[in-house]
Symmetry: C2
Subunit: 240 residues, 2 copies
């Protein structure tokens, strides 16, 4: 019988898989290395042969999550057409990812240990790659923007999508609304805030108008976007 072997065989990966399942089932706070070890039929100290501490295991799980996220972003990037459909596909994928694996997504973004400086080393490459892919996706929708505008827009898009899935996962929307919106309705609003249809391809005059304004996505609005915004601030917002 394999289970009676002294050596497990692939305890590191088994731990990651078991941790992912446990996090998905009970949340990250209730995860213990002892219970994981017991579940895998291994002694309490065995996990420490593969991960220096609990946070290192969680970081490894989160790294897998970022890799999965990158995969989704890459397939989205291959979406034909102008960049808008690609960004919408990526955003959809991200929303599905976060709602389909809430534990993993929470581990990737909510967790305290991620905020420590510096972040765990295993996390940096896949997280960097996810950011790069997102920036490419966003940049394709604002072809004429300069680098700073691309960064600002990427951060805005990232903030909106992440904020939405985080708040939804936390169940923040329904309790506060009588007659709450349908999930699909909210998702559509988020999608349109992130990558409005018609932004890079004029579909109709109305849509074109929407696209023109929405988040300074179109070239003419963008070209001097940051400048006029900065200038304006002293005139209008400075009074606030």
């Amino acid at each position: 019988m394999d289970k009676d072997r002294y050596h497990h065989g692939d305890l590191a990966n088994a731990l990651i898989a078991a941790a992912l399942a446990a996090v998905e089932r009970d949340g990250v706070a209730d995860l213990s290395l002892r219970s994981l070890a017991e579940r895998l039929g291994v002694s309490r100290a065995a996990p420490y042969r593969h991960f220096p501490d609990r946070d290192a295991l969680l970081a490894a799980v989160a790294a897998r999550g970022f890799e999965a996220l990158c995969e989704g972003y890459e397939t989205a990037l291959a979406t034909p057409g102008n960049g808008v459909q690609a960004l919408r596909a990526a955003t959809r994928f991200y929303m599905d990812f976060a709602s389909g694996r809430p534990g993993l997504h929470g581990l990737m973004f909510h967790t305290d240990f991620l905020t420590r400086t510096p972040p765990p080393a295993v996390l940096i490459p896949p997280a960097n790659r996810a950011y790069d892919l997102l920036m490419r996706l966003v940049s394709a929708t604002i072809p004429d923007a300069d680098d700073r505008a691309r960064k600002a827009r990427t951060i805005t898009v990232w903030s909106t999508t992440f904020g939405f899935v985080a708040l939804r996962a936390a169940g923040r929307f329904k309790p506060f609304m009588r007659d709450p919106l349908e999930d699909a309705e909210i998702e559509a609003a988020i999608l349109d805030a992130v990558a409005p249809l018609g932004a890079a391809s004029a579909a109709s005059p109305v849509l074109e108008g929407v696209a023109r304004g929405l988040g300074f996505l179109k070239a003419e609005a963008l070209e001097t976007g940051l400048q006029f915004r900065t200038d304006r601030r002293f005139d209008v917002d400075g009074a606030a």
Copy 2:
């Protein structure tokens, strides 16, 4: 000497204050009721006379946070002018609040126990009030929108601002960018995504166009907004 009294006097509030300070200093994960009790010169079990468990104390601290947030929103709501300046002021306040008290903000939004159903009872009234105030702030910037559009826009605004402060607090932006944007630059982009200048008061034709389109804010864009979006999806987005 007061400190030698058998009864503390106001242990409940002292615990909340000490917990807030400890969370702000070391993060929520490292907070223990024992250390709090010791710091207050009280036995380890004393806190349990005032809070049934650790989460209840944390919820009480979070409730204070939501009350502070409501205060800021209320003063923002009194900002003169059209609603845009008020929403911008509120958003500024929220960003300052989150960066000035990152521990408290994290407790209010990141914490696992908040996702449980139902949320702690002490949290519901102030959290509801914060949501209502935000919805009023947002609605003032889209005077012609109907109820569903207000809700959708509120959620979008909330997602964007929350996502931004959460990701910034987690230090997510700087590691991924060479030549990162200044904080003020990013904040300006977020502010413009949430409450663009000129949205409710036409300052210039260009700005008016921006305002018209931004997130189906104006009535004419909204009326058939959800329909055409759903229809479109099968045509354009469905290809993804």
